[in-house]
């Protein structure tokens, strides 16, 4: 079943805030096997010019994934979650994520298309801090494999 094209252009306002902790950053850095001290040691981070420990470049997947899942499980969109795969991902950082940040995610459906029997959905998320300043824009393409693809 094709995706409902009318979802193109929709935006989803923030449902909640996410507070970034030093502990979560360290847990994520451990999980990706990255020993860089600016992810763990506030002093090392300050020496590098940051106010506190910063998060690895892909850290925002933690909140991005939840925002994506909230959209793709909307029954009206008609997406077969079991056939969905992550096609691509991008992060454009205005600044690094810093421990103590309180972040909000606004998600947009930029495009929905069908090619060769597969559905593609392009999502963009604007991630802002409490001051309303942009921290990062994430982009993801999800691919829903067609029944015969």
């Amino acid at each position: 079943m094709p995706l409902d094209q009318s979802f193109t252009g929709r935006s989803y306002p923030p449902q909640t805030s996410y507070e970034v902790s030093r502990e979560k950053i360290r847990e994520f850095a451990d999980a990706i096997g990255d020993a860089n001290p600016v992810y763990r040691d506030p002093e090392a981070a300050r020496e590098a010019g940051h106010p506190d420990v910063i998060a690895p470049p892909t850290f925002l997947t933690v909140i991005n994934l939840a925002a994506i899942n909230a959209i793709v499980t909307d029954p009206e969109l008609g997406l077969d979650y079991s056939r969905m795969v992550h096609g691509d991902q991008g992060f454009t950082h205005t600044r690094p994520v810093i421990a103590g940040d309180v972040l909000q995610v606004t998600t947009h459906i930029d495009a929905i298309m069908t090619r060769a029997g597969n559905d593609f959905i392009n999502l963009r998320a604007d991630i802002t801090d409490v001051a309303g300043q942009k921290v990062c824009t994430t982009r993801a393409q999800l691919v829903v494999r067609g029944e015969n693809a």
């Binding site: 999980a31 590098a48 470049p57």
Partner: protein
Amino acid sequence: MNTAYGGPGGGAPGRGEAPHVTAGDELPALEVRITREQLVRYAGAALDFNPIHWNEAFAKDVGLPDVIAHGMLTMAVAGRVVTDWLGDPGRLVDFSARFTRPVVVPNTPEGALVEITGKVADVKDDGVARIDLVVKFDGKTVLGKPQALVRL
């Protein structure tokens, strides 16, 4: 621009020194082994509990050869080639990749070997460089067009 720490080019941190980076420079390569234990750890850290990343029976049932690594974990691991070289990961401003082939992770202590290389593709006048990565598992690329933009 903050150049008071680290710095590409392999030199010691030099305060105020302009980095000597030119197109064609190769970044130090990296070989990383991804194990089942790491998949479980990453699932918890990233809050991505899709069973194709930890449940062998489920993965095979949906047509995969075995449990596969999270694409986002492979991407994060690949990014280390860039951030290790930069010293300060805060200078990576853009990072993107397509997920083109799975990294299959066997239930062995060695896990799956992922090989990452990178080189400077372009240096702009504004001090932003583009790094092109090549990320391979089992001799084949697993990420499409993995690319980073960095502030030098």
